[in-house]
């Protein structure tokens, strides 16, 4: 990953800013009498990387939307840095399954979306950090899927967010590009120290990136595994395999076990 080594380092005060902390106190989201997220308790410390895995429809995406403030809890409370969240979460930026770039804006303008003029330098820096500064004048339509997600990552990081929410952003990419993106996210996170919540159905992706993997089923957490392996993690490591297997087993179990506490 030559592009990571060549990255120029800007001396910014935000480098010392730490990630946001999260507290979920019995958060429930109900859609038409159905608890899609069902009384979730969760604490995420600043700078931590939490992955939530589960089958489709288990409520993991809704949980992420709650964290972004796009949805409001029907019950319970959600705190960011100890303060109850109201409306959109200003500390958070989100990456979606699709890149969601504005097709009528060039790459550079997409990365600068929603920023003040004084932040444009940061945006350009973010574009360099994903290695796409040479494409800044291109329209998104001519980029490959992987390049689009890299632009989306740059856009997410341009405002130096303290919380990064990832809603399966790599699931549509080919295997090689996905590995590259995982490396990039992991690298940038270590450099900038933001808190990350990743939602995915890819167990190996969760294990290779996260400090903690949580298994979600029918709106509840059913299993939680800490991953203490050092980065960069290799799939060939035996511990990696053991953890992945344990999580996968839990996902494949037909009857959910009672909720585990922390």
């Amino acid at each position: 990953m030559a592009l990571l080594l060549e990255r120029e380092i800007l001396p910014t005060p935000s480098d010392v800013r730490r990630g946001a902390s999260l507290q979920l106190l019995g958060v429930t989201k109900d859609f038409g009498g159905n608890n899609v997220v069902d009384g979730i308790h969760l604490e995420v410390s600043p700078g931590e990387f939490v992955a939530i895995v589960g089958r489709s429809g288990c409520g993991k995406s809704t949980l992420l939307r709650l964290l972004s403030g796009l949805e409001t809890p029907s019950k319970g409370e959600l705190r960011v840095d100890g303060i109850s969240l109201r409306g959109l979460n200003g500390e958070a930026r989100m990456m979606f399954q699709e890149a969601r770039l504005l097709p009528w804006k060039r790459v550079r303008e997409n990365v600068r979306l929603g920023l003040l003029k004084s932040q444009y330098a940061e945006a350009d820096h973010a574009l360099r950090s994903v290695g796409l500064e040479s494409r800044e004048n291109d329209l998104p339509t001519i980029l490959s899927g992987g390049q689009r997600q890299r632009v989306a990552l740059a856009r997410a990081l341009a405002s130096r967010p303290r919380l990064l929410l990832l809603d399966e952003p790599l699931s549509a990419l080919d295997a090689l590009t996905r590995l590259e993106m995982q490396g990039l996210i992991s690298e940038l996170r270590r450099e900038q120290g933001f808190t990350t919540v990743l939602v995915t159905h890819d167990v190996e992706e969760a294990v290779s990136l996260a400090d903690r993997v949580i298994v979600m089923e029918k709106g509840r957490f059913v299993e939680q595994v800490r991953v203490t392996l050092s980065h960069p993690r290799q799939k060939s490591q035996s511990a990696f395999g053991a953890i992945s297997e344990r999580i996968l087993e839990c996902l494949l179990r037909e009857i959910p076990r009672p909720i585990l506490s922390e």
Binding site: L88, G90, R93, M94, F96, E98, R100, K105, G114, S159
Partner: protein, 258 residues
């Protein structure tokens, strides 16, 4: 499918119109066409040249063009604005859309008797008809355009700190543009149609007046000049619409150079 060369693509569209004119000239010079039905191309050209020399042609052209543009601006801007409003605001949609959709089903030319009663047969009546004719295509397509903007992009915009005017300017309006421009094309078609009908109704100037008067004096050649002028104006409006599309939709895959 055979591949056509660049030259062929340039030349082929002209074959049919030029061929027709040649055939027309040949039939006329052989005396197979009565001059009252269809005068020869030469006499039409002469009539056109005469109208240009006397300046009459440009006078009528300016009047008709002015009417068309004024009607387009009035009806178009109202349609565009209301379309944006109903597209963005649920309240405005509930309030306005069903009524507008009902009125839309009345062909605008069916309003002629009522318009004459309201405005007489002067300029106001013509402007009203043209404005009405361009209003609906622009209203409908703007409304649908705003509605059909990818909700994922709007959601993304909100997460990235856009709201209100900024969200509208950067996401909703450009997203609706392809549809708005389709509406503009329909509006231009409707504009000419209504203009012709309104000018045939009663006018003291304009291409419609020119042709109606010529008809009374059996000047078929002048009538043909007038008809060709309408065709030319229609084509010109189409070219302008295409240029706008190219400029405003430069990002759209359909308009990118292959």
């Amino acid at each position: 499918m055979t591949h056509l060369s660049r030259l062929q693509r340039r030349v082929l569209p002209w074959v049919l119109p030029i061929g027709l004119i040649v055939l027309w000239g040949a039939l006329s010079s052989m005396g197979w066409l009565s001059t009252r039905i269809l005068p020869s191309p030469q006499s039409v050209a002469r009539a056109g040249a005469h109208l240009i020399e006397t300046g009459e042609l440009f006078r009528h052209l300016a009047v008709s063009g002015g009417r068309a543009i004024a009607g387009l601006l009035i009806g178009g801007s109202i349609g565009f604005t209301l379309g944006l409003l109903t597209g963005i605001s649920r309240l405005a949609e509930e309030l306005l859309d069903s009524t507008l959709q009902m009125v839309r089903t009345v062909p605008n030319l069916a309003m002629i008797p009522l318009v004459i009663l309201w405005f007489g047969i002067g300029e106001e009546a013509k402007l009203f008809l043209i404005a009405l004719g361009v209003f609906f295509p622009l209203y409908l397509n703007t409304y649908h355009g705003v509605r059909l903007v990818d909700p994922g992009l709007k959601e993304m915009g909100r997460v990235y700190g856009l709201s209100g005017w900024e969200l509208f300017r950067q996401v909703q309006l450009p997203g609706a543009m392809p549809s708005v421009l389709v509406g503009l094309r329909f509006a231009l078609g409707s504009m000419w149609l209504t203009l012709i009908a309104a000018e045939a109704l009663a006018a003291e100037r304009g291409i419609g007046y020119m042709t109606t008067t010529a008809r009374e004096f059996m000047q078929t050649d002048v009538v043909i000049v007038g008809t060709l002028l309408y065709a030319l104006l229609g084509k010109l409006a189409d070219v302008i619409a295409r240029m706008l599309e190219k400029r405003l939709l430069f990002w759209h895959p359909n308009f990118q150079k292959v």
